[in-house]
Symmetry: C2
Amino acid sequence: MSTPSLLILAGDGIGPEVMTEVRKIIDWFGAKRDLAFDVSEDLVGGAAYDVHGVPLADETMAKAQEVDAVLLGAVGGPKYDDLDFSVKPERGLLRLRKEMDLFSNLRPAQCFDALADFSSLKKDVVAGLDIMIVRELTSGIYFGEPRGISVNANGEREGVNTQRYTESEIARVARSAFELAKRRGNKVCSMEKANVMESGILWREVVQKVHDEEYPDVELSHMYADAGGMQLCRWPKQFDVIVTDNLFGDLLSDVAAMLTGSLGMLPSASLGAPMENGRPKALYEPVHGSAPDIAGQGKANPIACILSFAMALRYSFDQGAEADRLEKAVEKVLADGLRTADLMGPEGGSPVSTSAMGDAIVAAL
Amino acid sequence: MSTPSLLILAGDGIGPEVMTEVRKIIDWFGAKRDLAFDVSEDLVGGAAYDVHGVPLADETMAKAQEVDAVLLGAVGGPKYDDLDFSVKPERGLLRLRKEMDLFSNLRPAQCFDALADFSSLKKDVVAGLDIMIVRELTSGIYFGEPRGISVNANGEREGVNTQRYTESEIARVARSAFELAKRRGNKVCSMEKANVMESGILWREVVQKVHDEEYPDVELSHMYADAGGMQLCRWPKQFDVIVTDNLFGDLLSDVAAMLTGSLGMLPSASLGAPMENGRPKALYEPVHGSAPDIAGQGKANPIACILSFAMALRYSFDQGAEADRLEKAVEKVLADGLRTADLMGPEGGSPVSTSAMGDAIVAAL
Ligand SMILES: CC(C)[C@H](C(=O)O)[C@@H](O)C(=O)O
Ligand SMILES: CC(C)[C@H](C(=O)O)[C@@H](O)C(=O)O
């Protein structure tokens, strides 16, 4: 097979800093494990807007379609707050998700042993937590038409967005949740608001049908999304895989991430259909945002982005053992007590810089 | 003024049991504080469906429009799971909210001192917590048209719901949040997804405008709803009043309620425009659901429903001092160590029954 290709879109805020550390990791795998990547870089978000006047240039979009995997840092920042909706940094990311058809967004919410004390939740509630949220990423209210702000019959302005899900859109993300569950705890909980939304009724029905016809041996339950949010806060360990729509997934995965106390630590994978070479279309990015308040200060935690590369090793390049190796290296530096500023408890301590953390992980490898 | 009127809709599951305890409280205020109410009762939810074939009869709806306040228990249960969407128990509640035009749903998330240990969050994160979530209750994706399940151009079934907000709908709920904030910590945080939804852009703009023109002295901030969910879990005490739409409010208020450890304890008020007598249209109900698994066993905690009556005293009947009295009585029985089954920690203990809890609160009054 030819050298696998990676497109790096570092984006805005702390994106470039954390990506610099990921480059060190990529280089290490090339030098020491004979796992070379053909890496190219390009712009997304505000950084792309500054150069091209759009948050994702067509040429960048075309490149993203061709590579084996995209690695994204973060997008957005106050500098771009007043831009028109259509060119906001976020639109660059949303265009990538939509045009690459990355329908299955995997968001692990994992509590790192060394950080269990750092959660706002009690230690016994989160220690050892390891759940996977599968969020639908290319449909629902994020993309449904009609949408926009217009003047209605009473002469008043009205904001409209449309939640829209077809059976096949629901079925394919459900399948990806069941597949994951089979390799984990064999349990899926599907969340919607079928008690108030018809799109939720269809969601529940299709997930149940995919289960009954294709995955009868996986344990399936359904929960209203509000109750799901509650249960995540009460006793998250009751869950293994959660599957939910684009908007609920946005909220619930953020809540779950925060619970772990490891927000600066959590990666994500956004996967689409298999390409000709058998690899899924794929984009990997940290769950955290661009954190403009600390950008450029060497304070950012590169671990979420580094673990996103570990997910790329696992899901795009079939290198599960190498992914494990990288994850173990991260665990080791944490167990050794290394902490970036975001991981300092109220007691304080002396945080290490972004690049010192990257170097330590390379050393641990 | 004539005797104020109360319509009690006990509903399903534990609704009737907890309402029995509220009746004791109402009777006490009539006998001891010269605060008599003209109380009538009727059916809602599954209980109404069993008798009328609909979850809210037209006559009940008419009564609700006429009384000074409605007190609701809870609706729903597995018995009704397979009913058609249009007659599900929840539709009865949604019809009340919509036709009474109860646009402002007040959901306090308060941590009772005696229960701070009971939260899944660390004690210092929740002790003393007192925030108020103001949820828009009559519009948004709960009620927007078009909606339903239909077959699309590709011959596939598609589920559709529409999020729709007009300027005036946003402005009126924003006003109610600012008014509340003035009598509390003078801070409002508005939550939406203006980064991905145009309805969120309009929401943010209108809230800001109402602020600038009418409440410039209240501190206003905006947060994306996913970040809001995170922040609620991380450090909820940063908030005073949160204002958000119907769907985000559903999720975020449930998360906030769970954080307090006091879910069985939390009341809510749903308020509309003032009636001719100056009182707002109003419905009061506990935040918890119908809990069919423990219904009829004397295990339910009546406090949320009793505190909902306290909110009625405060918001409908201008009896703030009497509401305080009732809330103090509740605090006293908790401080005395009385606990219903839902408030038993993992250590266990001997819970009191629903009616024993009601009696104790009457005694504490
Ligand atoms: C940046 C934003 C558009 C995005 C989303 O809402 O999907 C983010 O919150 C996320 O969860 O990836
Ligand atoms: C019962 C249900 C229709 C309701 C809602 O979704 O609004 C409930 O969850 C609530 O929060 O009051």
